[in-house]
Symmetry: D2
Subunit: 423 residues, 4 copies
């Protein structure tokens, strides 16, 4: 198990933890309490759960540690059956206690102990590795805080704002032309090479055989998706998987999540409130089913996760743009996908919208989950999920990489998920 | 339409409104946000909805009134189809805005206008009548605030406390013996006589023919209900209505709501947290189905609402005890049913536990709902509900009377509902 | 317990049993197997269940009786918890065995023993009383065979025919004018007087106080109901009970059951297949909710069951017409409500359509279910049901009377149920 | 598109069609009508649907063909959205017409026309290709007739028999020892090579890279699965996928489908009725979740579909045993998995139990569904399904091959599905 350097951790831990609190700042105690569906959790729960992670997998493993709030073990356990009984996930919004002040206290308590141990060099290698998982875990929940509060606020007829923000204005610009880029084929290496942090599901690195393919230079725009809609996309079963067609019918889908007709125009709900659809922005908040149906309508297909990874690796794209950071937040920049108006050959592979791949999430050859409760982190979800790649505008900077495998069920729409075509 | 005297209203309105806020005082913003089931609403919603009631049915009828928050029309409309579209009742817990501060502002805004108009004598008779309905409506929601927060807090494994409180201790006292009291039979008058306020469903007063009957001098105790349980009450279909037996199976009922086994003993969740079952207290938080099954097990039956009313009227029982008031709250008394240790011939008819009657809720002969939206207040619920009489410990003082008809579906358990036997 | 005369029974038993088989004659083995919803049962099941009733409550009580098929005890027990475990009611359509031939064998076996005992005078008074209940029970299931197969056949896009039939043709006749008839008021006697057979729920006969009222001389026609529909009846919440409005929404009701638009015209599915709506026939296959909404739209209300009974008793109407009989079936007459084209003052109180009353089904004062399993026959359903009076065209002759109380949940539509207005 | 030889087809078509009718012979009209769950269909429906397939995709394409029963288009269309509206799949059991006699007529009508055209050589190559798909399609439904009637009969407390049968008796024999067989690794060819018939989803044949692996020489026995159960397999979340654990909880699984405790012993429901579990037979009727959990418990994993195919191809195993045929049926042999008592190195790869692989069902590189309605045959199901390989005892002889990809959702249990371990 690779591990984070102790000094690096001493800097990274508090800064990541601080970012979580920064995300909650625009929100009232009431905002932090809402749970609009089972898949989403209250902000306050996220803040407690990420803390619980460090307490459970790090502090509680230290000799002599006594938890000040042993009842949190059950309340803030997300899905680790081997740790404790689970509190019903769909009822997190019914928990009013601990309240925000108490959760902040809990965070402080855990933070001070983690930092104390870190600074005094008391963590062994295994513990440093767990700490690094915890930091990355906290980042995952930062993204969920944003997607979950967006979903929660969208439930109110008031359509309230998470945070007013400024955004670059590309209203007049056309989206770039799609170009078809050849990716490497034949035997390629897939999976993480062990340099730096990665999750268990990115390993082992292994050979994979690819037949020749091409991937689009940018993701699909709102304008293009509107054409699909106007061509009857949502009412023509020939474009849809069988389960996708069922989902369209039973959920009455006729547009991406958060789209609403305002008079003759489509409007989009964003973290800064409602605003007209920007035609040059990537279509977003769509399910796998919609991505797949769009691709079939367009006479293309979705790339596999292996094609995606091989392509991106071959282009040596740096995952350093797009994602938000504390600077972006301090500058009051919008947390929203950027317009697709430039053409650098292969645009916004990282940090704009998660890109659905046609790959169902499964184990790499030789994969074994780590022993103990952390083995439940990724492995037990390898069923009925599709892989997304690349991160989104809601992903924190420093979290994403080319081998990163996100996964969600095919009907998931509340993540910042979009479409990159392959063929 | 009878109406409240303007001077009385000028005193009563602010005092009732203040009580609502007093009820919310022990609660955090987070507590005021939870909705633990469709039937229950967040405290904050109750506080806004009761205010909406005055704004909608009183202020908005005044010439020149402009609402500062027109969007609240939909958010806080409970069930008045003729006023506006309804916001999904089961998702009130997803509304984080307006938050508590904003709801308190809203209350102040409405209160100051209502008081201004009241004090300057600007309300006409109809408006005073509506105001009186609004005051009684607010009292109904005060009871719901208590029952709903009790349900909400009970969802948390922490079993938190609404408010610490003191309660009279009758631990050593035996419950009084049940005596069977003869009620008036033959032709009796049922329904409100028009003196003072009543809801539309208590009218018209009319003759009803009763055959001889008896009613128990007190409600059923926890000790007695435990005997039913120990005799297999929850597993013997012969005691249950067909729909009741279905409810037992599908909800896995084996004890009243809020009862839990703690080792060998039964514990009860109260507004002051968990505590051991007191054997001499009335059984409470049971459904009609359980009340009816208990009665059948006991070789008795439930009284009809007509028997109940005729009996209580004949005994001239004053509805002035039991219910809570600001004094009781200031004195930090428990909001919990009192032990049944005294015998005054016919005890605790008012303000201890709502008493299920065998009467399905329907219109009195000649009943007509008032015209307009307020016609939706009571009449449209006359289907699949049973009548309860007498008020509970969660009913505010001054709200209950002998002709008062509360009603809930047969499987309702979260109200303070108990059993008085008849035969 | 009154009892049937042994000689009468010796004639009545085989004739009623034969009628059941006559009803099944137009049906194939496949038709007799379908169950289109939980509330409906396959014809074959009805034929076995009614037989089970005689076997269980009569033959099995005789000394020395050994059942040839003890497994039928569970299969064909409808809802008698005290007899045996119940087979899931909604899965009766999954039982392919015993098949029709075997069920007919079962019927023969039971019939021959019942007749043998009857003819040899071996049944005691109690057993004769049970036998009479069984005969009336069989008649109830005859009606259900017809309503259930109608529902089952209606599920098929083929809209197949139960039986071709002839019907009187009144196409050109106008419906009679509605007249408002005064019923007896003050103290009236309600319930069965003990002469001849009645079910337990019709007793005890007791006094009931009625205020003055009127009842319409005939039931509501299709033409009148169409006006309600054209006036937006199904889309205006002001006419509906709250639960009724929910039912309209969630079931997407916009017309009575079995109505379908065929081009510009409405068509009705009947036991003889689809045919155009006859304007002068009574509206039929509507729920309590629709009956109640129609009445409110029409500025009237539904009568109570007490008003209905007092009215019909006062007019000495004989329940001998309308219902079907073996003559009617042999003559190939339609089983369908007759047109309302005559005016005899108070028309078709019996045997045309069941008439929804505003009375929720509950016990008469002093009612006690009989001891033993037969106590489950009626009493345990006194919850969330409304009373219907008068029988329908699907009720067999000799089964209905003025005190007869049928009951169904408020959203029931597959019975031949219609509307008679009161005010 | 490869096509069947006209002369071969002239022999094969009637013989396969006849087998379907042979399968229905032991069943009554009532048996052929039951639908015990949405996933299963009545025998009669299968017989009509397979006929509809030939009529729709073959006869209706012939000039001048007029269907004698155009309404069947909707009734017997399974899932081809591009052909017609679909009749609700879960309500096939509600269709009593056409009955068995009429369905047999329908079969004769289609058969005589197909044979006529075949014999006169009127089918072109495309039509012969469609005919061959239809024959293979009919075989798939033969298997479903068996699995569906097994499920249907199992619903009855009578536990009736599909057909009495004889089976080889291996009661005393031990299962063979599991041996671990090395499969070919590195770059292997996967998919059908174009010789003879295959479904579209088996193509294109392509290279796949495999790391070294081993596969067990036989499938898991009932004895071995019992050890898993006795070790708490069904109550220990650590063995289960997250969705699998949910399925265990919500379905209350504690043993394979059709297992029931009879006293101290486990009993199995078979097509010949209930009988004691044979310890040396393969565990069967288990979901992917159970297969996967068992593998984890055993310290192994399931093979991928690529490993399975490469292994079986490398061993040149002939798919000619196991599956049933008309001889087997005429000889009254049991349709039931055979005991695992022999060891030929790699046993019963074909025709005993379907073997769950860890591969989620997805498109081979370059896969494109055929144009037109037949494109809906396989491609639209590539989501949330796992691949099974090898066929079962319910698969007809001549239908299975090493590249054959069967697929079902992970919670499917009513197929004859078992476990072969890999590592």
């Amino acid at each position: 198990m690779p591990k984070i350097d102790s000094n690096v951790a001493a800097e990274r831990y508090p800064s990541v933890r601080r970012l979580t609190e920064q995300l909650a700042e625009p929100l009232s105690a009431e905002d932090c309490s809402i749970q609009s569906m089972s898949d989403a959790s209250p902000t306050r729960w996220h803040m407690a759960h990420t803390t619980w992670f460090f307490e459970t997998f790090l502090l509680k493993q230290l000799p002599g540690y006594v938890s000040p709030s042993p009842q949190f073990e059950q309340l803030f356990n997300s899905y680790y059956n081997s740790v404790s009984e689970l509190f019903d996930r769909s009822r997190r919004g019914c928990l009013s206690r601990p309240n925000m002040d108490e959760v902040r206290e809990y965070r402080k308590h855990v933070d001070s102990l983690v930092r104390e141990n870190l600074e005094s060099g008391k963590f062994n290698d295994h513990q440093l590795a767990v700490l690094e998982i915890g930091i990355n875990h906290e980042q995952q929940h930062q993204e969920l805080i944003l997607t979950d509060i967006k979903h929660g606020l969208a439930c109110s007829p008031l359509l309230p704002t998470y945070r007013e923000s400024v955004s670059e204005n590309y209203a007049d610009a056309d989206a770039s032309e799609i170009e078809w880029v050849d990716g490497p084929d034949g035997l390629v290496s897939i999976g993480h090479d062990g340099e730096g942090f990665s999750f268990d599901n990115e390993s082992p690195r292994h050979l994979f055989h690819l037949v020749p393919y091409q991937v689009a230079s940018r993701t699909v725009t709102n304008a293009e998706f509107l054409q699909f809609m106007q061509d009857g996309g949502y009412s023509r079963p020939e474009f849809w998987l069988s389960a996708g067609w069922d989902a369209v019918q039973s959920n009455d889908w006729s547009a991406p999540l958060y789209w609403k007709k305002a008079g003759d125009e489509w409007e989009n709900f964003t973290l800064a409130g409602p605003r007209p659809i920007a035609m040059n922005e990537p279509v977003c908040h769509i399910s796998y089913f919609e991505a797949d149906a769009y691709a079939r309508w367009a006479g293309c297909r979705l790339p596999t996760e292996f094609e995606w990874e091989a392509m991106v690796d071959s282009l040596s794209i740096k995952p350093d743009s797009g994602c938000w950071s504390d600077q972006l937040i301090s500058a009051n920049q919008a947390i929203h996908p950027r317009a697709l108006v430039q053409n650098h050959g292969f645009d916004h592979a990282f940090g704009n919208v998660w890109e659905w791949t046609s790959s169902q999430y499964s184990a790499y050859p030789g994969y074994a989950p780590p022993p103990g409760a952390l083995g439940e982190y990724n492995g037990k979800f390898m069923c009925n999920q599709f892989v997304l790649r690349g991160g989104s505008c809601a992903t924190p900077q420093g979290h994403i990489r080319s081998t990163y495998r996100n996964f969600f069920p095919a009907d998931t729409r509340w993540q910042f998920s979009g479409i990159r075509l392959g063929r």
